[in-house]
Structure formats: C-alpha cells, structure tokens
Amino acid sequence: MTAAPGSRTPTSRTAYAVAALALLAFLAVPLVGITNNAIRLLLTTFLWVTTSLAWNLLGGVTGQVSFGFAVFYGLGAYTAGLSINGGVNPYAAIAAGGAVAAFGSLLIGLPTFRLRGPYFAIATIGVNEAVRIVMSNLEITGGASGLRLLQAGRFSQAEHYYAALGVAALAFLVSWRVMHSTFGLALRAIREDQDAAADVGVHPFRCKLAVHALAACLTGLAGGVFAHYSAYIHPDGVFAFATSTSILLMPVIGGLGTLSGPVIGAAVYSIVQEEMVVNFPQFHLLLYGALLILIMLFEPGGLAGLWRRLARRLRGRNAADPGAGIAAQQQPTGGGS
C-alpha cells in the first residue's frame, strides 16, 4: 500500500492550525463540565490513537505488518502496574512502561526482522501467543487472574484524561517528525523495496529495529496509562491476540502511511466499540470484516484516502480552472529539505 503522494510536503498552515485547535479543545474538555462517560470515551480514543499511530510507523510507513503489538501494550501496562504497586510515581511508572516495551521490541525484532513479509507477520503472532501464555502463568504478576493496582496516589479522572491526551499528542508529534525526516525517507524506501534500499546504502535491519522500538515505546506508554486508569489488568486483556488485531485494524481502516488515517481509524473504532458492543455484541466484528474487505478492494488509502478523493472531486467540480486540481497534485515535494 502506498502512502499519500507528497507526504513529505511541508505541512500547510491549515494543518498546523487544525492540530493546534484540536489540542486546545481537548485540553479544555474537562473544564467545561462534560459527563464522565464522555471523558472516558475520549480517553479510550486517545489511547487507541496512540497505538494506531505507533503501529502505523512500523506497518504503514515501513511496511512491516506486525500482529504482536499487544505484547508492547501489555508490557507497558504490567511494568506501570507493578511499579505503581511498588510505590513509584505514576508518571515515572508509565514512562518505565514505555522503556520496557521498547527493550522488549529489540528482543523480538532481532530474530523476527530476519524474516520478511508474511513470515514476519506469522512470527509476531507466535511471539504474541507465547508472551500471553507466559504472562498467564507468571506468579509474580498474578498469573491469569491478573494484576490489581493499589489505590494509593490515584489520579483524578481529569488527570487520567490528560495523561492519555499527552501520550496521544506525543505519538502524533513523533509520527509527524519521523514522516518528515530523512529516517522516514529510509523507512518508506524499505517499504517499497527493501533490497533496492540496501543497494543504495540503507541499512534495513537497523532501521526496522529503530522504528519498531519507537512504536513499541509509544504503545507501552499507552498501556501504562491504561493500566493506571483501569486499575486492573490481566493477560487475556492487554496481551490478547484480539488486542493486537485491534491495534492493527485501526490504522488499516483509517489509511496507512499517513498521519490523519490512523487517527481517524482509532476514532471510528472507539465510537463503534462504544455503540455496538453493548447493543449488538459480535456484530461489530462483522462490521470490521466488511470494512476491511471494502478497503482492500476499493480504497487502499483507507477512510483518509476516501476523504481525500471525495474532497478532490468536490473541489474539482467547484473550481473555475479545471487545471487547478492537477497543478496542486504536481507540486514538487521534498525540495525544501
């Protein structure tokens, strides 16, 4: 799947403005007396936005499809949970979750990045299951019955909310930086043709390890925030294969290799979960299945790609100059680097 053409164009002022306004609005939300339930929904969305953006760095930008991100989510959650129970400051505990997840990603990446394409994907399924089973049987973490977090020093609802928002904003910033950097250029080259990239000097193995660690760290931070917020975690939740597929599903639905796609995908996923799972258990799976098939068949760019296409068509109809659309598409890219 290809990225949006010109994803290295200097970000437009409107994009900056939209991002800044969204951040301000989200910062203000707890102050305006919104329901606890709405805050919870937003918080959950922020966590999924984080994992979605993180997965996109490896899966979308670099083209390495992993079914094992629950491992990082779980490592972050358990590290934060155990640290908090050990009396560590919650923020430090969450940061430790990110660090442990990044370290775990190196251990996983060293053998699995020797594999390519579907073989890599299959290996990550195996790793995910192995880690889940180990965690289900590890006594110091509470085994299959899970880990309850001590209540001392708990955040207020607003504090949890801001932690989740902070992690999502970080994921957004990191993704933006990576996608506009020289490192991002190498990652995209690896996605397009790993051997050809190596033939002009890119070190695919190192780049993959690095982006994997970055993505794992962000995912681990989200797991840490989640653990502190929910106060109870268990291996069949955070380490579940279903968690891995959810993390993968969101950026795929939203649009791979872009910034907006994973965010849109996470938002759609969170809302669908909220509305459907209660009223029509199981039905949401059907919906995701149908969405995935439609996306693969008709719009590899995901919802973000669909949106771009619609916008282009609408603009094309209104524009006085029929050449305007084409000129906009052919803006030189990367020149200002």
Partner: protein, 254 residues
C-alpha cells in the same frame, strides 16, 4: 592504471545449478569493463555478488586492498560500489526526487554534494535526463525513464565503481545512444564502470575491455577487437559470424 577491483575464483551455486563458476577478472581504474554472454550465463549473478546482494559460494572479491566478498549491500555501497538493476526497481510509491534522495542521504558519499542536497539531486536528474520528472511518482515512469532513474539513484551515492546491468535493455536506438554517451561521460569523470549488455554494437563501441561469460564460466576477455575475432566467442553465439555487425540486440529481451 591500477586494478580497482579483482575477482578470484568467484563461484555461486543455486541448489544444483552453478550460475557462476570459478570466475577470475580484474577491472582497472577508469575503464568501462563490458560483460557479455547469452541469457543465463551468470552475468547478473556475478554483479549481485560484487554488489553484496548475493553471498558468494566461494571466491574472493577485492576492492582496492579490501576483501569485500560476502559484505552486505549497504556496506559495499558505502565503500563506493553501487549497482543498477536489470529490471528497474524504483521505490514506486515515492517521487522520482525522493528516490534519488535516498541514495544521496544514505549512500555514504565520499564527496559532499556541490551546493545543497536539493541542488545536487537536481543536477543528477538533469544529467540523467529526468529534469522535470522530480515530482512524479516513480511508479508512473515509462520504461526508458525507469532505467534512467536506476542510474540517477545509483549516481546519487557518489560511486567509485558503477555496476550497470543492461541499462539499455528495451530502449530504442536514440535512447540507447543517449545512455551510452552518459556512461562515457561518467567514465571520463573518473568513475569505473562494469557494464552488462546484450546489444553488441553498444558494447563494442563503448567498452574499453570486454569479458565473455558462458554457462557461468569465462570464455574470453580482451579489447573489443580481440573479442570480435575470438573463435570461441563466435561459436558460443550459435556460430553466427555476422552477429557483430547487427544493429539490433542479438537476443530479443523481454
């Protein structure tokens, strides 16, 4: 002139197939060294081993005073040896400019770009005849320009040795003449070129020395004149005495 690259006893097997067998040759600094031979003779396999895409089964590859056999591609590139691909392999989802930029930023250039990186990329695009194409997605290029992009991306790494694998394959005579003049200009600028080609006229006109491969083994080596008169070579090409004078490629390439 000194030997820049020397290959000794180079061999590569694929399962039961011996694609390259006990190959010896030396390439001098600043020459265009042609490699010819029928389909499946092992030309690309030999290139791949030099460029680090394939690990030799046995044998030695020396660049200057260093043994580089078995090195991974990115290390070989950083030393100054860069290849192009017989079937172009552009980064299709990226622009032409970005394709070249990858080579520029990651190729381990030994000389800094003249002016800014953007200037240098623009210069390379112009040199290879791709100026004006920079903003296009590489996947949208026609064949001729894909070949040019292969060359541009490799040149961006600032190579000492350039390995060109059938860079004129599938091009019309005008385009071929164009590329050949580029190769000569590069050589005159100090780049050593190894050049695989099926088009005999192109090879005879352009190369300083030629090596002929057949079934993975070296059949002959020498100046174009020597190769033209070599009985063994003529026989390997189905005994066609007239093959040297043909304007079109001796084998139809897909």
């Amino acid at each position: 002139m000194t030997d820049l690259l020397s290959v000794e006893g180079l061999t590569r097997h694929f399962g039961g197939i011996a694609a390259v067998v006990n190959l010896h040759f030396r390439v001098k600094e600043g020459e265009i060294f042609g490699i010819i031979g029928p389909n499946g003779a092992g030309k690309t396999t030999a290139f791949s081993m030099i460029a680090g895409s394939l690990v030799p089964t046995v044998g030695s590859i020396r660049f200057r005073d260093r043994e580089i056999g078995g090195w991974p591609s990115q290390r070989v590139v950083h030393l100054g040896i860069c290849r192009t691909h017989q079937i172009p392999r552009p980064f299709t989802g990226m622009t032409v400019y970005e394709n070249v930029e990858v080579g520029m930023r990651y190729g381990g250039r030994r000389t800094p770009p003249r002016g800014s990186i953007a200037d240098e990329i623009e210069r390379i695009l112009e040199f290879t005849g791709l100026s004006g194409w920079g903003a296009r997605p590489a996947g949208s290029l026609p064949t001729g320009n894909r070949k040019r992009l292969e060359l541009a991306r490799a040149l961006a790494t600032d190579p000492v040795v350039l390995l060109c694998d059938e860079i004129c394959g599938g091009l019309n005579p005008t385009e071929t003449a164009d590329i050949l003049s580029l190769l000569r200009r590069l050589r005159d600028g100090g780049i050593t070129i190894l050049y695989i080609e099926h088009d005999m006229r192109a090879v005879m006109r352009t190369c300083d020395r030629i090596m002929v491969l057949n079934y993975g083994e070296k059949l002959a080596e020498g100046t174009p004149e020597e190769i033209q008169d070599d009985e063994g070579v003529i026989e390997a090409y189905l005994g066609r005495r007239s093959w040297m004078g043909r304007a079109e490629p001796i084998e139809e390439r897909p």
